[in-house]
């Protein structure tokens, strides 16, 4: 009997204990549930308040802007997947537009084209004779070139041809986009590159690259600057920068002009090669006006050769790493300057002599 009673008591005690634990657990559950409901209602209230949502979104976007401005930020890669989707669509728009404009220009200019054809036939006959003479000269040049190890201008650069995809949206969103990118070997994380037009005139520099497109900062943009020199023997070194007040007139500003120099209107400026981004000798433009009203701060305006609004194709100059490395490891003095006066003025001009050569045949 006693044993039976003790067993029942033990069972009752155990049940009591279990129920106590359960009630405690229930209390916890209820407590957690209540706190969850409270938090959810607070969150809901916060997100129902449009002002708070807007402030949060604004802060988030500002943080995004700041992070994307940091050099080498991974956020700059955000546009890469976008480019895969958007660029083909944009290319379709561009090709449709080009076809339409070609069609209308063919109709509108039909008579003119016929007249021009006749003139061109006569010109071709004349040019054919000159080509024959030129061919002989070319052979002679090649012989001399190999004999004296003359280096062609920009032969250490791969030149990638590209078409302009998009132009500026307004005066604050004014970057150009072209259709070559990392797939074509242009990677802005390795450095910026010079951009020129078909006549080898400076257009701007590469800003950022996506998979098959890249952004170019045009030389009229106020963020652009390049070291330049007057294209004559011992020409003065100056700084060409974009200027917000001159941009709409298609002009740049020239500063850091030495005090003893007077820039004559019509003088040509070319890149000096200082800074390492732009190879020396790329034509930039001609001096439009010279302002010497402040002797400590001489200024001039420059009209670039390139017309950014009309440009359709550009060429990106990517340094050839192997050749550059070779030159760095074994600086040779055997390259004879054919035409560039910068050698005589003591500038580094390992890559700027003679006519331009297309190293890979990618350019026109």
């Amino acid at each position: 009997m006693l044993i039976e009673r003790q067993r029942i008591d033990g069972k009752l005690q155990k049940e009591l204990k279990d129920s106590l634990v359960l009630s405690k657990q229930n209390e916890n559950v209820v407590y957690f549930y209540e706190s969850f409901v409270w938090e959810e209602s607070v969150l809901r209230r916060i997100f129902e308040n449009k002002l708070i949502v807007m402030v949060l979104a604004t802060l988030l976007i500002i943080a995004f802007i700041v992070l994307s401005a940091i050099p080498g930020s991974p956020l700059s890669a955000v546009t890469k997947p976008l480019s895969v989707v958007i660029d083909p669509i944009q290319a379709v728009f561009q090709s449709i537009g080009t076809k339409i404009s070609d069609f209308y220009s063919a109709i509108a200019e039909g008579m003119e084209i016929r007249k021009e054809n006749e003139e061109l036939r006569a010109e071709i006959a004349e040019l054919e004779y000159k080509v024959q003479q030129g061919e002989e000269a070319r052979i002679r040049w090649e012989e001399l070139k190999s004999a004296f190890s003359i280096k062609d201008s920009f032969e250490n650069y791969h030149i990638h041809g590209a078409s302009v995809l998009t132009r500026e949206s307004d005066e604050w969103f004014s970057v150009i986009r072209v259709n070559v990118g990392t797939e074509n070997g242009i990677d802005s994380s390795e450095g910026s590159y010079a951009v020129v037009d078909a006549r080898m005139n400076l257009v701007g520099r590469v800003m950022s690259t996506d998979i098959d497109s890249c952004k170019i900062l045009p030389l009229l943009h106020e963020g652009f600057s390049a070291s330049a020199k007057v294209n004559e023997v011992n020409g003065a070194i100056v700084l060409v920068t974009g200027d917000i007040t001159l941009k709409n007139d298609g002009l740049c500003v020239v500063t850091r002009i030495p005090s003893n120099i007077v820039l004559q209107p019509g003088s040509e400026l070319v890149t000096s090669g200082e800074g390492g981004l732009f190879p020396a000798g790329i034509p930039i433009g001609t001096i439009e006006s010279f302002d010497d009203s402040d002797p400590d701060n001489l200024k001039a305006t420059l009209r670039p050769y390139v017309s950014i609004s009309d440009i359709k194709d550009v060429f990106i100059m990517v340094p050839n790493d192997e050749q550059t490395q070779e030159e760095i490891s074994a600086p040779s003095n055997d390259s004879i300057s054919a035409s560039d006066p910068s050698v005589t003025s003591g500038e580094n001009s390992s890559e700027n002599n003679g006519p331009m050569e297309n190293s890979e045949g990618e350019a026109a």
Binding site: I61, I62, I65, I86, G97, R177
Partner: protein
């Protein structure tokens, strides 16, 4: 909103946004008048916000702003003193453009078609003036350039021509959005009262 209505809304917005953005950046020289390029993206966001309310304005503004950043993002001087193309400024600006155009004079204008043009003019004025102020402040602080456009230039060669070309661009976009827009009846479904209530919460802000 029913499924097919939602699908129509998404498809038409996607079509219009892609077309407007691509047209502006590809053929900017075609849409040039008085020395200014029609800002089709801005006009589209303003009219989407004006005609269809805050939600549409903000969402369309965000997407168009993202496109703007992608195609021709603004350039600033980075921490290493080199120019860098930043992302997000277009996104932020156009979200606020969409918001502003949906709440500004909401009660007075009552989404009338003709007054949409006035809304475009007002928002363009805000956009240009603020753009010049921010640009001037940035250049002054960065010390890159101390010269800026004269007030005369800003008024008569920048803001006024921009408003005029945007108004011209607004006419076809206004009709497209109203009669071939993302909503069947040219307006968003739902009672106008709820709508006004919704907008009032913004105006109180």
């Amino acid at each position: 909103m029913r499924k097919h209505e939602r699908a129509r809304q998404i498809i038409i917005y996607a079509l219009y946004i892609t077309s407007v953005c691509c047209l502006q950046v590809t053929f900017s020289h075609v849409f040039r008048l008085f020395g200014r390029t029609c800002d089709l993206m801005l006009v589209f966001v303003v009219l989407a916000g004006y005609l269809f309310g805050t939600k549409d304005g903000v969402v369309v503004g965000g997407i168009v702003g993202m496109f703007r950043d992608y195609f021709s993002g603004p350039v600033i001087t980075g921490l290493d003193q080199k120019p860098v193309a930043v992302l997000g400024i277009g996104l932020l600006v156009f979200i606020y453009v969409g918001l502003l155009s949906s709440v500004l004079f909401r009660k007075r204008f009552r989404r009338k078609l003709s007054l949409g043009l006035l809304q475009v003019a007002i928002v363009t004025l805000f956009y240009c003036v603020l753009g010049h102020i921010v640009s001037w402040l940035y250049l002054s602080m960065s010390g890159n350039s101390v010269s800026y456009h004269s007030l005369n230039y800003i008024a008569f060669r920048s803001v006024l021509p921009q408003i005029l070309v945007n108004l011209l661009a607004a006419v076809p976009i206004l009709f497209l959005l109203r009669f071939l827009g993302p909503y069947k009846k040219g307006t968003r479904s739902g009672s106008s009262e709820t709508y006004v209530m919704e907008e009032q919460s913004w105006q109180s802000v």
